[in-house]
Amino acid sequence: MAAPKKGRRQSGQGRPGVALALILIAMVALTGGMFASGHTTPRLGIDLAGGTSITLEAKNEPGKPNAINKTNMDTAVGIIERRVNGLGVSEAEVQTQGDRNIIVNIPKGTNEKQAREQVGTTAQLYFRPVLTMAPGQPTPDPSATDKEKPKAGDGADKGTPSGSPTPQGRAVTDALKDATPTPSASGKGDTGDKGKGDKPGATEPPAPDPATKKLQAQFTALDCTKKDQRVETAQDVKSTDPIAACGKNAVGQWEKYILGPAEVDGKDVDNAQAVINDRGQWIVNMKFNGKGADKFSKITTQLKTQQSPQNQFGIVLDGEVVSAPSVSETLSKSAEISGSFTQESAQELANILSYGALPLTFTEQSVTSVTAALGGEQLHAGLIAGAIGLALVVVYLVVYYRGLSMIALLSLLASGILTYTLMALLGPAIGFALNLPAVCGAIVAIGITADSFIVYFERVRDEVREGRSLRPAVERAWPRARRTILVSDFVSFLAAAVLFIVTVGKVQGFAFTLGLTTLLDVVVVFLFTKPLMTLLARRKFFGGGHKWSGLDPKRLGAKPPLRRARARRTTATVDPKEA
């Protein structure tokens, strides 16, 4: 009996230090990482920081039952993100949740109503013929050219050396199966030049009725480099009216356009894909449905005879020109947009085009707007609740376990540090945001974490009650307590994992925290509580069973060692009876 015990103790002698060092290193590393990354507080969810959260649910359009899939949802997320961030919110986040929901979180300080309108309405994709185009700033003022010069000059430089198809890149491209390098490229360069010099003069055919004049004035004044102006221009456009619009060309410069009424609806696009053609360039293939093919052939027949830029059509998403390819022949069912695409830009365009074809409609399922004041209040309340809960637990532990509670408190502290740093780091890493249910999860987890200590402590005390001295008791209690802790934590983790995978929304945040803290509980108990216990058991205060240590054999009602051999357990006590 003595030998194995000794062995256990010896093996326990080397390990506690190592384990403690390990977890301390982990804590220091996490804390260091937290400060190094600059995210010293967990990212707060909308309900704590204030803002608006919109949940959308995708619905299949009639006749297309299988449209809700990952690809389509991702396309939709891309489009919605583009639209929301177009409002001047750069921090809005759009993510899928579950298999059919999209969550849009818009931080405080944004025009909530406008954002909701953007998110709630269906994106509108149209093909409109280009009437006029010019660089994106109101040009006539020569002083303004200072800033603008490099840009415009750039465009002109590239444009004028005629024949090069690249300059306007994505914005001005050929649209042909045979993909002839368009001569129009130089023409476009011209337009750019002209636009720079005398913008109003750049206009061509449209009949000068009042509406056109107004549009012309709007076009002249339009400064596409200013976000608010872009947003305003993109508002409230009718598909049947000519419009002024902004768009970026391939080199990322803003250009402005006057576009004719919509000729083809984005819904007429059947699908669009980014592919590499046989010359190794990225192109976008799009196919129209029957109705679309008719309309598209009509418009391309018209456009191919025009001079640049009127041989171009603008692909307009929510009032913004995403691409303006030129046309040199009649196209109907399928078309190819080529130009200086990168893989990324080709895919983005394909996404936009296919969004029109996306057989999904989105309905607003829930909208939560929380003012910053209420958010702060809720956070505050959550923290106070946590503090009260923690204080109560601490008091209970101290009263009940006395000296032993010190170990529990240190373990709780370790667990707290790990949880906090991980939460802070997980914000930037995986987009974890602490919301109110997550705070609740963390508070509830105090109980689960403390329970592991209780299981262990009770085990140790049971061993002491059987008459063992503390050091062997600590070691003997561990394997049994370990199993109990693992089994029960596993059940708890299982609950959290299932909730996280199956549910949506707030429940998920809660499940995440619960799962995280359960895992950390195991880590802390194994690497911190147990080694600490082993170390402290060597100190006289605990090992000697001081009456304030919480391990005083007398207080625990331990049997006097004398009787230990005879009457350890009830099973053993029967013997004398039989005798």
Binding site: E57, G120, E377, L390, L436, C440, R569, V574
Partner: protein, 378 residues
């Protein structure tokens, strides 16, 4: 404290204790009664579903001078639907309007802002379409189902199928009671409530698992001895983990109490309050069921095994012999032994009295000395 420590020791050794197994039928009865009440309440009254499940809007205003009645009138006028208004702890009001769609709620918000003379952007709004709530609830049920199946599989592997079944029954019991309390009292059911309810899953099982773990350990090699029947071992397991169970429940309830106090007292209503309320009810039910329902159920199931039946026979025979012997040897104390033995005929699974089976197995000399106090407890 020292008394507590002593009690813990005596519970651990089985010197004192409550006969959970022997009295199981009483507790089964109590549980069945509560469950029936819960089911009836659910059927008759139904749950008071919050806006989140029915669809509608909740507006929360900052501190305002306006009275509840005024706010209600204003909200009903603006929406054309019935409104429920609550005063919040911070001086604001919470206005719920059901049956409005998300589009209309903006308009209501503006009108409310005008009527209450608060800026529109300072009113918090939560608008929920009706199918969203259904989806949340549906997912929660799916989660519940998946969890139960996985848990039963896990427990069946880690322990045995009887324990898995018993744990499952205890779990269903806890959830039924919690839901029943909600139906009965008419608390509002919100996503927060559902979160709380789902957490109970983990917690209730957590408690049960600890008792089972101790039971598994103590019943190891049980067929090789003739001192205790399975039920008695089960009873000892409950009693020896009783201190831990109480501690756990207290420690789990303390933070929840903190939440409840802050959620209810300071914020008046909302997520914190909802979660902690259902947790509070569920935790209490969970602690109760792991002790009074789950383990006795395991004992019941176990005692049906032929092995355990045989063991019981052997144990009883041996005890009868020992009793006869001690009776003839010490006629001075017949009453003590009789007391111990009698109930075994009536309630085969253990003593029908309030004392643990184990006490019976103690040597007469000890039960007369130390064990006496527990005898008096009856």
């Amino acid at each position: 404290m020292s008394k507590l420590g002593n009690l813990g020791a005596r519970l651990y050794r089985g010197e004192v204790g409550y006969d959970f197994i022997g009295k199981r039928k009483v507790w089964y009865g109590v549980s069945i009664l509560i469950t029936i009440t819960a089911v009836v309440a659910l059927a008759v009254q139904g749950l008071n579903l919050g806006i989140e499940f029915k669809g509608g809007a909740v507006f929360t205003t900052p501190k305002t001078e306006i009275s509840v009645a005024q706010a209600q009138e204003s909200a009903e006028e603006a929406s054309g639907h019935q409104a429920i208004v609550q005063q919040l702890g911070n001086g604001g009001v919470r206005i719920q309007v059901s049956g409005v769609d998300t589009a209309k709620s903006d308009q209501i918000k503006e009108e409310l802002a005008k009527d209450l003379s608060v800026r529109a952007d300072r009113i918090n709004a939560e608008l929920v379409g009706p199918s969203w709530g259904a989806q949340i609830a549906g997912k929660a049920w799916t989660g519940l189902g998946v969890f139960m199946v996985l848990c039963v599989i896990y427990l069946a592997i880690a322990f045995e199928w009887r324990m898995a079944i018993a744990a499952l029954i205890a779990l269903i019991h806890d959830i039924t009671i919690t839901v029943g309390v909600y139906a009965l009292v008419g608390f509002e059911v919100t996503p927060g409530t559902v979160i709380g309810l789902l957490t109970i899953l983990g917690y209730s099982l957590y408690d049960t698992v600890v008792v089972f773990d101790s039971l598994k350990e103590q019943s190891k090699g049980i067929t090789k001895q003739t001192k205790n029947t399975y039920s008695e071992v089960a009873n000892l397991s409950i009693n020896s983990t009783l201190v831990r169970s109480i501690n756990t429940t207290v420690v789990a309830l303390l933070p929840v109490a903190g939440l409840l106090f802050i959620g209810g007292g300071v914020l008046g209503a909302g997520m914190l309050n909802d979660i902690s309320l259902s947790l509070f009810v569920g935790l209490a039910a969970g602690a109760y069921s792991s002790i009074f329902i789950a383990t006795p159920l395991v004992a019941d199931l176990k005692e049906r095994e032929p092995q355990m039946k045989a063991l019981k026979k052997r144990v009883l025979a041996k005890r009868a012999a020992a009793a006869a012997k001690s009776e003839s040897a010490e006629p001075a104390d017949p009453e003590g032994d009789l007391e111990d033995l009698d109930p075994e005929d009536a309630a085969p699974a253990g003593a029908g009295s309030g004392v643990v089976g184990q006490r019976r197995t103690q040597p007469p000399s000890r039960s007369r000395g130390r064990g006496r106090p527990s005898g008096k407890r009856r």
